[in-house]
């Protein structure tokens, strides 16, 4: 209750809690439950200057209030990093605007709901009173009360539809909102006129209920898109945006990536992303993880004069390099441009509901007009004719149609979201349902994308602990794999003091027991026989070196999922930038017959275009930056949440976790959703077939209209909800 009270007081005083206080919003990755929220909030409250922190689980963000002006978000990010959450600062304005728009919709929904409930209360009294003892004067009073509620409610709650319809008409187009607006406005207008005349043909209840249901559909659509857009914004915030530049004076300065000019000397620390394309200037050599560009897991060794690509990660450091390109001229930017071009092709996709509207709207308007003219011709007088025509427009008002698709999509997207599968938009779901060919990337998609120690069982526990104690101080993927292997075995690993890293060779530490080395064969005196590069050696004192062998392991359920998809009639292909041997091996291991190796990003696009030219609908699944253009080119695309930021932003669907099963699950749910949408259309059309002839005949009373309207909306919503429980046959 204390919280509720404080909310009340806060709402009344928009001024800040303390003078000079500032707020910051951070996107927090990996916040899943109440415990995480508390950890995040408490970690932030321990940071000096932080007055308050409030986590938002729905948006995966945390709002922080500081006592004074914020100098840098680094302290906040470090505090969250210490408790295991990756955070990044977000721009304030966008999130505030989104929240405002969201609330405006909810308020309209509430007003429409209030009006619908109360008018229905009055209408039911009128209907049950007709033919009994209700005096005409009381009936008129009830109609007037309805009018007083309905007219402002329609004027306020209907705004989104009216605006959209006006825009469509101004652009000489027809969309679903045109018949909606026309139906609602005509129904309200005519009912008002009939109320003044004391007649019984009053449709306020139908008009407002219609608006209420339509707003539900619209709000569902909006929240779904918002959730996806918010997730994308959180991802983009993770991008490296600054670079350390060495000045002539020898001092260093942090610059925004956009301000880095060719010729500047950059200092790239271990684990940092390379800000722009640059040439190595330092004398020693370092290791760079280029999997982002090439898809290759093994780090590349770079020496003075070698070119570094922006977006790749320096593993050993620091590296000194001279920038050779501006931010918008790098290979990364080139890939982004390729991606945009590929994406334009996808923009031509027309959503199911819009395709339906293109046929529906003119048909409905024609029908209304025909009804009016028909009644005029038989000499019914303009008032009867107009009443019948408006009844047709009310009945055909695409309430079920406008609710049919959003309801299904919200249920489907919500279901997938709970399984860790984030669908970015409704039409992504529609495109996913059409997929008949799946193209997979190897590294990071089919495989886990990080090396794993494979002979861990053969290594004695104390040797593993020793190796891990050295490895803890390195960011090299092999070193991290050693630490993981030790932890998986339940061993306690403590960092060793005095560990030094020799770039391109390994780690060594000197203590009382002698020297310990962990690194390449030559560094440790091992034998360079089997798979020299993929092997790490541990040499303790004078003992014989122990070999560590790594592999990029396939995801544990890769074979099962591929088999399942193939059984579903999907055509599967493996398309990788990796070398041939590795790709062939992975393809054989999971049972994919068609594969191609050493493909560059533009070749991947060409391959997908070729498949699409054979009128195949391609689902691209990839994770690296080198896959991003191909992701955009595919009919639909998915990427694991471990993927590069750009890939995640481009992909229609992002799935979390260590398994591939989400691919099969998402496809299955998308297909189910499409079937439900079509069923809903059938329901809506069936309802029109029954009631439109009645409306044309002038037999639709306000009671019939209200019942028909609500019944059809409830029917499509209930049908959509069935999707929640439907089985997909995929084990996740």
């Amino acid at each position: 209750m204390a919280e509720a009270l404080s909310i009340d007081t806060a709402a009344g005083h928009p001024a800040k809690a303390a003078p000079g206080a500032t707020t910051a919003t951070l996107a927090v990755e990996g916040m899943h439950c109440g415990g995480c929220m508390r950890k995040v909030e408490q970690a932030l409250l321990k940071v000096p200057d932080v007055v308050a922190a409030r986590a938002n689980l729905s948006s995966r963000r945390v709002a922080v209030t500081l006592a004074g002006p914020m100098r840098s978000p680094d302290a906040l990010i470090a505090a969250l990093d210490a408790v295991g959450f990756k955070a990044s600062p977000l721009a304030e304005e966008t999130s505030a605007k989104e929240a405002g728009e969201d609330r405006a919709y909810l308020r309209r929904l509430a007003v429409a709901g209030f009006a619908a409930a109360n008018i229905m209360l009055l209408s039911v009294s009128v209907w049950s009173g007709v033919g009994n003892d209700m005096p005409a004067s009381l009936q008129t009073l009830f109609h007037w009360l309805s009018a007083i509620i309905a007219v402002p409610a329609v004027a306020y709650a209907g705004q989104p539809f009216f605006t959209s319809a006006r825009q469509a008409l101004a652009g000489r187009r027809l969309n679903m909102d045109v018949p909606i607006s026309l139906g609602v406005l005509l129904a309200t207008g005519m009912s008002f006129y009939q109320t003044m005349r004391g007649s019984e043909q009053v449709y306020f209840d139908a008009a407002v209920t219609l608006l209420f249901f339509l707003l539900i559909g619209r709000y569902l659509d909006l929240t779904m898109r918002r959730r996806a857009a918010g997730a994308a914004a959180n991802l983009l915030a993770l991008k490296a945006t600054s670079a350390t530049v060495m000045l002539d004076t020898g001092a260093t300065e942090r610059l925004a990536t956009g301000d880095v000019a060719p010729g500047m000397r950059l200092l790239i620390a271990a684990g940092e992303r390379i800000p722009v394309d640059a040439r190595v200037a330092s004398s020693g050599d370092g290791l760079v993880d280029e999997s982002l560009i090439t898809g290759e897991t093994r780090p590349r060794r770079v020496a003075a004069g070698d070119l570094l690509y922006s977006g790749t990660v320096s593993l050993t450091g620091p590296i000194e390099a001279v920038a050779v390109a501006r931010e918008d001229n790098t290979l990364l930017a080139e890939i982004a441009r390729l991606m945009q071009t590929a994406e334009q092709a996808r923009g031509r996709y027309v959503r199911l509901a819009d395709r339906a509207a293109a046929i529906y709207a003119p048909a409905v308007h024609g029908l209304g007009l025909a009804t009016f003219l028909g009644w005029m011709m038989v000499g019914a007088g303009w008032e009867t004719s107009l009443t019948a025509a408006i009844a047709v427009l009310i009945i055909t008002c695409p309430c079920a149609l406008a609710l049919a698709v959003p309801a299904v999509q919200v249920v489907a997207v919500g279901r997938l979201f709970r399984q860790g599968i984030i669908v970015k938009s409704g039409d992504a779901l529609e495109r996913l349902a059409d997929v008949d060919t799946i193209v997979l990337d190897k590294t990071g998609t089919l495989t886990e994308g990080r090396p794993r120690l494979i002979d861990a069982g053969a290594i004695a526990s104390d040797a593993l602990v020793l190796a891990a104690s050295l490895a803890l101080s390195s960011r090299h993927p092999y070193a991290q794999a050693v630490v993981r292997a030790a932890k998986e075995r339940g061993l306690h690993v403590a960092a060793r003091a005095g560990v030094a890293e020799v770039a391109g060779a390994g780690l060594h530490a000197q203590d009382d027991d002698g020297e310990v080395r962990l690194g390449s064969a030559s560094f440790c005196g091992g034998t360079d026989t089997d798979n020299a590069e993929a092997t790490l050696w541990l040499k303790a004192g004078t003992a014989k070196p122990i070999a560590f062998v790594f592999e990029d392991a396939l995801r544990s359920d890769a074979r099962d999922v591929i088999g399942h998809l193939a059984a579903q009639g999907q055509r599967l292909e493996l398309l990788s930038g990796d070398r041939e041997g590795a790709v062939a091996e992975a393809a054989a291991a999971v049972g994919i017959a068609t594969w191609a190796a050493q493909r560059r990003p533009d070749e991947k696009i060409k391959h997908i275009e070729a498949l699409k030219a054979q009128s195949r609908n391609v689902l691209m699944v990839g994770d690296g930056l080198n896959d991003a253009p191909a992701l955009a080119a595919g009919t639909a695309s998915m990427s694991p949440s471990s993927a590069s930021d750009i890939s995640q932003t481009t992909a229609d669907v992002v799935f979390q976790g260590e398994h591939l099963a989400p691919i099969a699950e998402a496809l299955a749910v998308a297909k189910l959703a499409k079937r439900r949408s079509l069923q809903n259309f059938a329901l809506a059309i069936g309802y029109n077939i029954v009631f439109v002839p009645l409306a044309i005949a002038g037999l639709v009373t306000p009671l019939v209209a209200a019942i028909a309207m609500s019944a059809s909306s409830i029917a499509v919503t209930a049908n959509a909800l069935r999707l929640q429980l439907a089985k997909t046959g995929v084990r996740t």
Binding site: A2, E3, L5, S6, I7, D8, T9, A10, A11, P14, K16, A17, A18, A21, T23, T25, C33, G34, M37, R38, L45, V51, A52, A53, R54, A55, N56, L57, S58, S59, R61, A63, V64, T65, E92, S95, A96, E98, A99, G100, D102, R103, L106, R107, A110, V111, F114, A117, N118, L121, L138, L145, I149, T223, R226, R227, G230
Partner: protein, 67 residues
């Protein structure tokens, strides 16, 4: 008949009250994080050291908001 004279205003007034209550909840940011609110109900720990902190946090959350 006199029943209607007071029942109608009461019924409409109650409805209006509900609408206003919803609007208040909306403005004070209670609809911003429906998932989080469900979890917070299970949280045994005291909300914060002082009410002031809580107020400021709510305000921050409202201002820069959800989704």
């Amino acid at each position: 008949m006199t029943a209607i004279a007071w029942l109608l205003p009461v019924a409409l007034g109650l409805g209006l009250l509900g609408l206003l209550a919803f609007n208040w909840a909306l403005r004070s940011g209670q609809m911003d994080d429906l998932e989080g609110a469900a979890w917070r109900a299970l949280d045994d720990a005291p909300l914060s050291k002082t009410p002031m902190q809580d107020q400021a946090a709510t305000e921050a959350a409202n201002g820069s908001g959800s989704r």
